[in-house]
Symmetry: C2
Subunit: 196 residues, 2 copies
């Protein structure tokens, strides 16, 4: 029987995220999750039917923790200009980088997805939903920049976060900051005029 205490399930997935970030997908075992969560051996197996089930749940859980309502509401506040887009992108990078194990766990899950079609489907679906949400949210916000700009920002900022978390000395804080500003400036200036 699968247990249904949502708080306990979330705590087990939080533990799984830490294990993934620290040990990689190969290090993720029921026992490692129990140990990380500080619960009796056998607890995780009451909540998840397989390792694959934990991997999928951990991916969802990272997004759940990153989807902060305050931050999303914040995007709808303030002036609707380029400086505000830049400010929001700096805040976005800082927010993701403030949960480094979440980002690293997702990278581990992506690499594991190469070997696991079922995990790949779940992640593709989740990430597409996130990207679609970001595009729609931006378009609704009245901020400058079209949907293509949102996707291009998303590509470049994701890799900037990879660098910040894995090779933090490749760029200085100031260089990273300037790259985000230049990226927003150039993409907005270079956006083709609306047709039709």
């Amino acid at each position: 029987m699968v247990r249904r205490n949502p708080g306990r399930r979330a705590a087990l997935l939080d533990a799984a995220i830490e294990v993934l970030a620290d040990e990689g997908a190969r290090g993720l075992t029921f026992r490692a999750v129990d140990q990380q969560a500080g619960v009796p051996v056998g607890t995780a197996s009451n909540y998840f039917s397989s390792r694959g089930d934990i991997l999928k749940g951990a991916g969802e859980r990272v997004y759940e923790r990153l989807a902060d309502d305050d931050v999303i509401a914040d995007g709808l506040q303030g002036p609707r200009d380029r400086a505000r887009v830049t400010e929001l992108m700096h805040a976005l990078v800082d927010r993701v980088a403030a949960f480094p194990t979440g980002f690293l766990a997702l990278l581990e899950l992506r690499l594991e997805a190469v070997r696991r079609p079922e995990l790949r489907d779940v992640l593709t679906h989740r990430i597409r939903a996130d990207l679609d949400f970001n595009v729609a949210h931006h378009e609704k916000s009245g901020l400058p920049g079209d949907g293509t700009m949102v996707v291009l920002l998303w590509l470049a900022l994701n890799w900037l976060i990879v660098e910040r978390l894995t090779l933090p000395e490749l760029f200085t804080d100031e260089q990273r900051h300037d790259l985000v500003t230049a990226l927003v400036d150039r993409l907005l200036t270079g956006q083709p005029p609306k047709s039709g």
Copy 2:
């Protein structure tokens, strides 16, 4: 005594790249490398003093294999215009994606670098050299776009390759193609005029 047959050493590192891509850094053992390379057990330990030594060598080896003189020379051929930059970027993405285990092995190495300061130093040094080379090569080529543009392209294209290799259905081939074209167009159009 460490053996010095360069061809054998390269073949062992090629095997290590495959093991990294397939099993992750945790799966990389002397035995796994010997097995993948199809050589007697104990061979890799004649060439490398530690697992860390193999990890560092594998990172270098990926760059060695990607640095194709023909492709680099190719960047100096043809017209010096925007269409040529776009063409070269499409070719770059295809070239990196054509060696998927190399890119995946580098991602595994980056994640391992979070735990290994020595590996982090080696990768930071190697990747900085690669980035500096790309900026200098572009500036020398007479193609449009400044050094900041090269770095911004590098950020976005790296993540586009992550998607292509780990979640290939997130974007269609056509969407990926259009994203590269839009990225180059907008960054070039949006580049601030030279001052001074």
